[in-house]
Symmetry: C2
Subunit: 310 residues, 2 copies
Amino acid sequence: MATATGVQRAHDHIKTLLVHTPILTSSTIDGLVGCKVLFKSEHLQKTGSFKARGAVHNMKIVTERGTKGVITHSSGNHGQAVAWAARAAGVGCTVVVPEGAPAAKLAAIEGYGARIVRCENTPASRASTCSSLAEAEGLDEIHPCYSIDTIEGQGSLGLELKEQLSSVPPIFIAVGGGGLASGIALALPDTPLYLVEPEEKKLTQQIDGSEEVQQLSLPTIADGIRTRVVGPENKRILAESKNIHVITVSEAEIRAAMVLIWTRLKQHVEPTAAVPLAGLIKLSSQSPSLPFQEAIVILCGGNVDVSFTL
Amino acid sequence: MATATGVQRAHDHIKTLLVHTPILTSSTIDGLVGCKVLFKSEHLQKTGSFKARGAVHNMKIVTERGTKGVITHSSGNHGQAVAWAARAAGVGCTVVVPEGAPAAKLAAIEGYGARIVRCENTPASRASTCSSLAEAEGLDEIHPCYSIDTIEGQGSLGLELKEQLSSVPPIFIAVGGGGLASGIALALPDTPLYLVEPEEKKLTQQIDGSEEVQQLSLPTIADGIRTRVVGPENKRILAESKNIHVITVSEAEIRAAMVLIWTRLKQHVEPTAAVPLAGLIKLSSQSPSLPFQEAIVILCGGNVDVSFTL
């Protein structure tokens, strides 16, 4: 079971190895949204996303235990993070990559020296390709979002925020498999978390258990959160958390937020990183006034092809 | 005559009103270039470029003297900066804009409440439209790069670097009209300056006086430095400076540098901001080893249309 103590342990290890990412602001965006927006800049993290946190923590666990090598499946950021962390630890690494993954992310995975194995672009093909190779070759599988070590590693972001700010305001987080959201929920149990999802995800129903959704790749521009299903451990943590809110955003709302981040904050983030701001803007447009004066928006990653246009 | 004392006076005033822009780094880019690269992030300055420095300083000068309003000509960044500074000072503002200026820059100028007057996209039309309106309406003209107040205002960037760093390494600067380069040359007379120009500019010949070049709009992707001619005062300062080096870069080299800044530094800068890095990469590729361990690259602005692609 992933715990707050586990997150603290991961954080103590991770913080000496990774970037303490800065918090950026834009007075123009503050004016548009109606509160002070603190952009936690994980796109400036090693390998360009928060996934480096879980990857470094996983690598510590497997190397302490002894490993023949690691394997994971990823359309991008997690694959880059694991490939980078494995190289740093001197561990062999294989990444199962679905067809259609962004070229920038693939190039980076190869650049970190990992072996790439292609599979079909379905959740089932990803999982089965990965686990059968792991078994055949005796490799340690590192899950992008569902495992305890990954959740506890990602949760270090919450503890880093606590060190950076005198008090941590509500946090807006994009949710895919739920690794980051559940990690932060463990790290900051008293902080309101706004979980922002693309359409068709049904996060509320997943968390309250009212509907068993099928795994599929969501047709969203936000390629980092196309995984629909939140893992069992992630779901348990989110269900037990107080102060969880879910906001659903459209593709147009994600694009509009991305334009603001590119043109006003001048940060070259990937589409997924625009999802939390889209959620905050939606909340702001629906309420006469926001229930807070400050909010944190997590810019989760910056790995986007140069040819990408809005 | 612009002087180091004038730069200091401008800096003392400006530094309380503008952003002390951060210095960003990327270990990947360091590895590619072969030295530690310190990216001075003026794209995170108010209005998205260093031009806010000269604009704020000019506004102080004209308001102390008393003014009926200001006028300038600009394809973008200077216009935004003057419009913003004028609004903050409660001064009316007119910006003469050539046809073909980027939509993002135009929208921002209008957003700051300035009156826009269109002209043909030639240096002659810009200058004459601006000066005849200034005369007809009794407005104070604020030159984008040639005037003493503009040069001294831009020079504040050099003094800010001196405050940020224990010692200031060589600086790579994109050169258009020469306002920033000459201001920094006054501020940091002992620091090597690498002036990076697009093709056909003939900066060396302009500085050493060996050729009188014609004014024209250079056909470069770097829309912020299409002005070919370096002003007389700027030229005087650069000619008197020790430690001036000129590097010419191609359009392909500018694009390649921009890809690195977008994908590795994750900063959504405009093409002109990639010019200094292109110069540093070129120098690095031509030398067995660089004559310094660290260099400053000025990211001069971040005002680029969302539809822009490389």
